[in-house]
Each structure stands twice: as structure tokens, then as C-alpha cells.
Amino acid sequence: MNLFKLSFRNVIGRPLSSILSVILLATGLSTAIVLELTDYQLTKNIESTGKDVKLVIGAKGSRIDLILSSVFQIGNPTGNINYGFYKLLKQNKTIKKMIPISMGDSYKRVRIVGTHKGYIHLYNGEIESGHIFSKPLEATVGYNVAKKLNLTIGGEFVGGHGMEDEVLHHHDNFKYKVVGVLKKNGTVLDNLILTPIETVWIMHAGHSEDSEYSIGHSEKRHHQEENHIHNNHEHNHKKSHDLHDHDNNSVDEILETINPKDKEVTAILFPNLKGGAKVSILNNANKQPGIMAVDPAPEIALLKSKLSPFVSIVVGIAYLITIIAMFSVFIGLLNSLSARKYEIALMRVMGASRLKVLSSILFEGVLLSLLGFVLSLILSHIGMEIVASWMEYEYQYEFSGWLFLTSEFNYLLIALSIGFISALYPAIRAYRTDIANTLSKG
């Protein structure tokens, strides 16, 4: 017999009350822990993804949508801008690096991003096998993509227009060919299919919903033929079938036939931009019709501030449940003690000091809180894993439930204090038990 055994037996001797206390405490603590784990990983993801992009240029629209879509690969872009603007900026010698990206297509919910090698370097991507795309229709895929969609080097696939669930139609004239797989590095690269920007133009040539800007239109001009759109499409399809083996000559031919007006990019990313150059680009870009330049940092800050009321509510709920848990431990102990009054007197008669009785009751509270903490660790990490799989599905960002933060030990301290504080008054009451009086009422 020892203090631990006595307290433990007493705790499990009132299973319903103890289970209630433990579950309440675990719920409160695990809510807080899940929030902390999510916040930590979200912040880490945002920082690692956003830190190197100093400026984004894209179509006019919602600033936050532009940043989310082009930097974080979340949600729909604001539209496209003409590639000509990119070429114009290229003449500016103060700009060291610029990365155009063109989006809008996907393969089995995975986004296809047309860009150049700079995009991979921006996120310090490294090749696991094969090589980085060098020609149109070649694709280098992220680690998770290769794994999830079983893509291997030499494999081919057909992309579709539209992102995520809403694929409008398949670009089945041309197939992408996987030429490389990237190493896993915990950035957006893991979940993307990357291809030269020209691929996107080729895919959309003749298949754009707005045929005014399609390859058909430019061909029509060439041949000065009838302007019936339907015929143009048929013509285009026929030609496309001839090109099905997509030898490079035909691809180059098509590229040549694309009207420069139809060469578009979704956004231009600027890494490592110095202050002066940034201001001049900002001013210059914002003067252009249909174009805007956005500094990601304040937008990210704004986004985080929009999330903070939600976070506060969850924190509030966590506090509330934890306080209820405290009461549950308190009331459970007090109830049990009024039933065990005689047992306390008995212990005293058998020689237990008042301090021994006090510690045994305090220990019951601490034991309950310890059990609550252990359960909260299990619940929170399983819960985080569930949240993670949802977040990955929804946002294609990597979250994990199997990440342990040292700050979780703070919750051990919180739990222990809760157990101690809730048990304090019951323990003092036990300490003050009048033995003779209690025995005479036994």
C-alpha cells in the first residue's frame, strides 16, 4: 500500500465521475493543443512559402486572391495578364529575377503550373529523379504528386481545364510527359505539376472557351477563310489529331502560330527585390490597365488578422471546457469525500497524519489531471491528424498530427495545476476532519 495506490484506487472507485473529469479536461486541453499545432504549422507553411516572394503582379481583382492563388496555390486566380508585360519588364535592368506563372489547368485535382526553372529554385526544389522540364509538354512533378497519382518518369497524362473539382474539359489533344520528380521539401512544390509556360499556351490554343483569342482565330486570319467558328474548331481538331504524337516540330509550329495576344501569364513573382526597384515596379504596374502589383507581406498579415477572431473563439471554448473540467474534478472529489468521511477518520485512527490525508486527496486531483493530460495528448494528435488530412485535401498543404512541440509540456503544467487547485479545498476539508465526531456518526 502506498499513496499512489490508495489515490488511484479511490479515483477508479468512482468511475463515472472520474471519467467525466478526465474527458472534460482532455477535451479542453486537446482543443488548445490542436489549435497550437495548427497555428504552428500554418505559420511555418506561410513563412516558408511566402518569405521569398517580395512582390506579385497579376490581373486586377482581389489582392488577397492574387496572393493566395499565385503564392500559396490556394483558390482561383484573379485572371490573366498578357505575356507582353512580362517581356516589357525584362528590359528593366534593375530587376534581377522574375518568375512568370500560368495556371488554370489541373490533373486529378493537382494544379498544373506553367513557369520556368526559377520557380523551382525559388523554393529550393531539388530533383529526386529525372530532370527539370526543358521543353513544352514536359512535366516535372512534386514528390507528393508522384506518389499520390503514381506518376513515374516517362509516364503520360492528359490535363484538364479548370482547377480542383471543376474540370471543364480535357485537353486531350496533347499529353504531358513526366520527365522528373522533385524531392520532398515541405513547400508548395510537393503538390504541384510544373511545366514550361509554353505548355499552357499550347494546351489552350484552339481550346480556349473564348475562341476570339484562339489559335483558330489566328489561322483564320492566315487563310482568310470563312469566319464560321464551328468550322474553325473542326479544322483545329483535325490538325490536332495529326499532331497527336507531338513531335517537337509540330509543337514549335503551333507556338509560332499563337497570337502574342493569346500568350498570357497568371502572375509574375519577384523574389529578392530591393526596395527601390520594388517601388518603381509597384508604381509602374499599377498604372497599367487591368494589372496590379501586390506586396504579399501586408496581405498575409491581413489574412492572419482576419483569422484571429476565429482563433480567439476556439481559445475561449478551450478555456471554458477546461474551467468546467476543473469544477468537475472539484465536485467529484467533494462528493466522494462526503461519502468517504468515515474512511478519512478511519485513516486518522489508524495513525495517518493530517498531512498524509491531505496529500492523498491532492494526489487524487493530480492523478485525474495527469490522466486528462495523457488522454489530451492522444486526442489532440489524432485530432490534428484528422484536421491535417482535411487541410491537405482542401489546401494541398502539408500538416501532420505526429508533430510534437515542446510547448505541449506547458499543458502538463496547466493540467497539474488544475488538478492541484481543484483538489485543494476538498483536501483541506479532509485535513480538518474531526475524527471523534465523524466516528460517532458512523
Partner: protein, 208 residues
């Protein structure tokens, strides 16, 4: 002298009770007889150091127990006195053996499981060691509580009405058990009772 008490009194809101002096030698089992309301349970509590008398003192093997510090008195009680009550009480969340070990734990002694087991064998309950308290009959509970009172080999055993809830044959069995075990561990029995059946069993009686 194993126990001597002199000038003991206790006051209640309506009356003050004065108790006769006691001088009890080792091995001299005593009955303390009194009607209900005579304050005999209070006397027992005073002798056991769990109730402070208004006046007087109690010496147990030359130790003036009320001059001890509170925590020393607790430990003194655990090591030198055994209690047996009319209705046996136990810690319900613990099984029989653990309840017995509780008396060692509370007295600050090492757990000596074998002592408990051999005493339980003597009262014929060694098959109940792992039973829950609720699984015992009233008679079994009383026997276990006697074992518990004797487990730490106390100098004195204070028993409060140990037989008044029992029928004649159980009454005799319990008294036999108590005296035999007390003799075995060299303890002196002090039984507080109004049970007239016990008068024939003990030569030494104090009336209050």
C-alpha cells in the same frame, strides 16, 4: 503499567462527565461498562488520543499522549493502539488485503503482507484476501476488522461495542477471537460495552 488515566473529564453543552481513574497492567484485559449516554465512547476516544479531554491525562507505557505534538500523536496511535468498532468500516475502493495493509501504511510502517496473510489464516478468511469489502458478510467484516486492529501488534486494543450487534454464538466467537489474538500479540484488550453478556467473560470491569 500499560495504561493509566487520571482526572479525566469531558464537558458537553449540557453536562460534564467525570471518569474514574484507570490503572491497567499489561495483559490485563478490561471491560468498561456503562449505559448509553454514560460517555463510554468518549472515554474510549480520549484513551485513543482522538478526543482531547477537558481535564486529566492519559499515560500509555509512560507516554503522556496529550503532551505529544499532533503528528507524533497520530504516529503513536498507529504504532501502539488498535481500534475495533461496533460497525466495521473499511475503505470501499480497496480489497480486503489492501484494507489490512492500510493500517500499516497509515501507521507509517513497512508493508508486511505475510503478517496480514497469517492473521487472516488464523481467523479462517485467507480465501477472502482479494475479495471486495462488499462481498463480505457482516460477521466476516467484523473478523477482518479485528485482524486489522491487531495487525500492527499494538500494546492496547480499544474495542467499542464489538459484540452488541451479534447473536449469542457470534458474540462468544468474536470475544474468543479477540482474546486469543490479543494474547498472541501481547496486546491488552479494553472493551467498552453495555453488552451484559460479556460480564461473565472478563474478571476485570470498570463501571462508569
Amino acid at each position: 503499567m500499560i495504561l493509566s488515566a487520571s482526572g479525566l473529564s469531558i464537558s458537553y453543552p449540557l453536562k460534564t462527565i467525570e471518569f474514574p481513574d484507570l490503572r491497567i497492567k499489561k495483559g490485563e484485559h478490561h471491560l468498561i461498562i456503562g449505559e448509553s449516554g454514560s460517555g463510554k465512547t468518549s472515554l474510549l476516544n480520549i484513551l485513543g488520543g482522538i478526543l482531547q479531554p477537558k481535564t486529566g491525562n492519559v499515560l500509555i507505557s509512560e507516554t503522556d499522549i496529550f503532551s505529544l505534538k499532533k503528528s507524533s500523536l497520530d504516529s503513536f496511535r498507529g504504532n501502539n493502539l488498535g481500534f475495533i468498532f461496533q460497525t466495521p468500516h473499511f475503505i470501499k475502493s480497496l480489497n480486503v488485503l489492501d484494507n489490512l495493509l492500510m493500517s500499516q501504511f497509515c501507521a507509517g510502517l513497512k508493508n508486511k503482507k505475510n503478517d496480514a496473510i497469517s492473521l487472516m489464516e488464523k481467523v479462517g478468511l485467507n480465501n477472502k484476501l482479494n475479495a471486495k469489502i462488499s462481498e463480505l458478510s457482516e460477521g466476516e467484516k467484523q473478523r477482518v476488522s479485528i485482524v486489522r486492529g491487531l495487525l500492527n501488534a499494538p500494546k492496547i486494543i480499544l474495542a467499542d461495542e464489538p459484540t452488541s450487534a451479534l447473536d449469542d454464538s457470534s458474540c462468544n466467537n468474536v470475544i474468543d477471537l479477540m482474546t486469543n489474538l490479543a494474547n498472541e500479540v501481547d496486546a491488552t484488550l479494553l472493551i467498552v460495552t453495555h453488552d451484559k453478556r460479556l460480564k461473565d467473560r472478563f474478571e476485570r470491569r470498570v463501571e462508569i
